[in-house]
């Protein structure tokens, strides 16, 4: 009988071909999916070639998603995407996406069943931790680590300690996964889970739909986390069973597994959260926010660009107009989400409210394109980072919040709650 383990430890042990692992131990693990994008993968491809590698370890276990500067914003970006395309052609990479097929990677891969529970996923993108919501061990890495994984199908990890976060109580109106994760980062800090696997548990998590779970796992990195996991349940099973085209193994933490720290929150005391510039940990409850006027609101991204996010925003914006001189940019995160938002009339609602609808792209989240901020401008965004210069000029400001707060704020022209709308 092996020692009681957390879900993270069990997945790593299985992929290292051993019965048990302990925090601090170095393991060499098999990778189920290796991911890169149009910014990070070109470096990996160059390293791959310089290493003299002739073929990838498995053409079906690599995903190359051109989502950051796409539709290609300039010549250099187009060259980077061409590097991905040529490499994908050369190696018959099964999961290469661009143009009308592309979506924001961390929404696209789960949606297509490309990442599954129990997987080990490394991605040259820090928000790879999103797939923890499926019960996968998924973590961000650099381009060199991706190149090594593309060659060998393996990677190394130091088994992380786990931090268990238990969410209890009744959610207040308008509070969603985004608020819970912002509150958590505000509490433990941007390095509160450094090197650790976060495990989101408790009755509130069990009641959350997949979309909110993805949002929470997505931002584990904003607390320094190596991964952000949710133990799979019937909600996970329902989401995955319709999408998976390969077998997968479900793991759960043992009841007596060891945690470096256990944190418990009474969610009935958590109100909608706003992260002020310039760190995601600078969170305050909506009731404490004084007048913060806005130039731009962005709804989208790997954090909150899913259909459930757009549905909340559309319900709030239905029959309303956004404030004068404010720009609302809505980016459905994948082609499937775009189509569903079209079919359900959400896009019409957004346009009638005065919004601009964009293609699936990471674009404005990283100050890339399609919504870059000028000097002194202020944006509220459903994205994940509000660092200096993140969405444009170094003297612009980014506030992070949920889709509900974003939609209401777009109408009000300042940061506010749906409760304030007549």
């Amino acid at each position: 009988m092996s020692r009681p383990m957390t879900i993270a430890e069990k997945i790593l042990a299985a992929h290292a071909g051993t019965d048990e692992v302990r925090p601090g131990q170095l393991v060499d693990v098999q990778v189920d999916m290796a991911l890169g994008n149009d910014i990070t993968a070109p470096i990996s491809i160059e390293i791959f070639r310089e290493a003299g590698a002739k073929k990838v370890f498995d053409r079906e276990k690599i995903a190359l998603v051109a989502d950051h500067f796409t539709p290609n914003k300039d010549i250099k970006s187009a060259e980077q995407v061409r590097t991905l395309r040529e490499f994908s052609d050369e190696h018959a990479i099964k999961h290469f996406y661009e143009g009308g097929q592309v979506g924001v990677e961390h929404c696209l891969l789960p949606e297509k069943g490309i990442v599954l529970p129990g997987d080990v996923v490394i991605g040259a993108d820090s928000h790879t931790c999103t797939y923890g919501a499926l019960g996968a061990f998924a973590t961000g890495a650099g381009s060199t680590d991706l190149a090594a994984a593309m060659i060998t199908g393996r990677t190394w990890f130091k088994v992380p300690e786990s931090i268990k976060i238990v969410y209890k109580g009744e959610l207040q109106p308008w509070v969603c996964g985004k608020d819970l994760i912002l509150y958590t980062i505000g509490d433990i800090g941007v390095d509160g889970a450094l090197y650790m696997a976060m495990e989101f548990t408790g009755p509130v998590i069990e009641s959350l739909p997949m979309s909110d779970r993805f949002t929470m796992s997505n931002m584990a990195i904003e607390a320094g986390g190596k991964a952000g996991l949710v133990n799979p349940d019937s909600t996970t099973e329902q989401y995955v069973s319709a999408r998976a085209s390969r077998s997968y193994q479900v793991y759960h933490s043992d009841e007596n597994a060891e945690y470096a720290r256990v944190v418990e929150y009474d969610c009935s005391k958590i109100e909608p959260q706003i992260a002020f510039p310039h760190l995601p940990e600078n969170t305050v409850g909506i009731s404490e926010v004084a007048t913060v006027e806005l130039d731009q609101v962005v709804i989208g991204s790997c954090t909150n660009g899913r259909i459930e996010d757009l549905a909340i925003a559309a319900a709030i914006l239905k029959g309303r107009k956004i404030a004068e001189e404010l720009r609302l940019i809505v980016l459905p995160a994948t082609p499937a989400i775009w189509t569903e938002a079209l079919d359900k009339g959400f896009l019409k609602t957004f346009i009638e409210a005065g919004a601009v609808i964009g293609p699936p792209t990471c674009g404005p989240c990283l100050g890339g394109h399609m919504g870059v901020l000028a000097k002194g401008e202020r944006a509220l965004s459903t994205t994940n980072r509000n660092f200096v210069g993140r969405m444009g000029h170094p003297e612009s400001e980014v506030y992070l919040a949920s889709p509900a707060i974003a939609a209401a704020s777009a109408v009000l022209g300042r940061i506010g709650s749906p409760e304030e709308l007549s």
Binding site: I43, A124, S126, G142, P394
Partner: protein, 166 residues
């Protein structure tokens, strides 16, 4: 190996967007990245940094995006090493993979001032502030990371390993 240079100081939680803003990531050319290194934290940095200069920063250096362009930019700008109480994990891994020396030292931000001359003995982890004579010790580099360095980086390491197995 000894690294010796003048110190530039930065605060806590320096993110990779500050090290190299995403607006420049339509290229991975080290020279071009170096021209914008740290500019959102200090816009004059690319002009004033000299080869071998040392960055001393607060905790959680390199948080945020996984872009390997961050250590590439620092290295290409001539930065000899970075000293901080802690590093964000992806940056930590990337720095070793890219060959940018980094050292964890809790007291460095308090003890070392901007403009001081500092010498780091990479093998022993001894950090000396030559301006004050103050000596500090960095956290030892974990054995596996030392093995990676000795092999010449991660790619050389995996190639060597696959060679050994055949």
């Amino acid at each position: 190996m000894k690294i010796r240079g003048n110190v530039w100081k930065f605060g806590e939680n320096i993110d990779t967007d500050a090290i190299i803003p995403a607006r420049y990531l339509n290229t991975s050319d080290p020279k071009e990245l170096a021209r914008h290194c740290m500019e959102d934290a200090d816009k004059d940095f690319p002009d004033k940094v000299r080869p071998g200069d040392i960055l001393v920063a607060g905790k959680n250096f390199g948080c945020g995006s996984s872009r390997e362009h961050a250590p590439i930019a620092l290295k290409a700008a001539g930065v000899g090493c970075v000293i901080a109480p802690s590093f964000a994990r992806i940056f930590y891994r990337n720095a070793f993979n890219m060959g940018l020396p980094i050292f964890e030292c809790a007291e460095a931000p308090e003890e070392i001032e901007e403009g001081h001359e500092v010498e780091v003995d990479a093998d022993s982890g001894t950090i000396i502030d030559l301006t004050t004579g103050r000596e500090m010790k960095a956290q030892p580099i974990p054995p596996f990371m030392q093995e990676l360095i000795a092999d010449g980086g991660l790619i050389a390491h995996i190639l060597k390993k696959s060679g050994d197995e055949q």
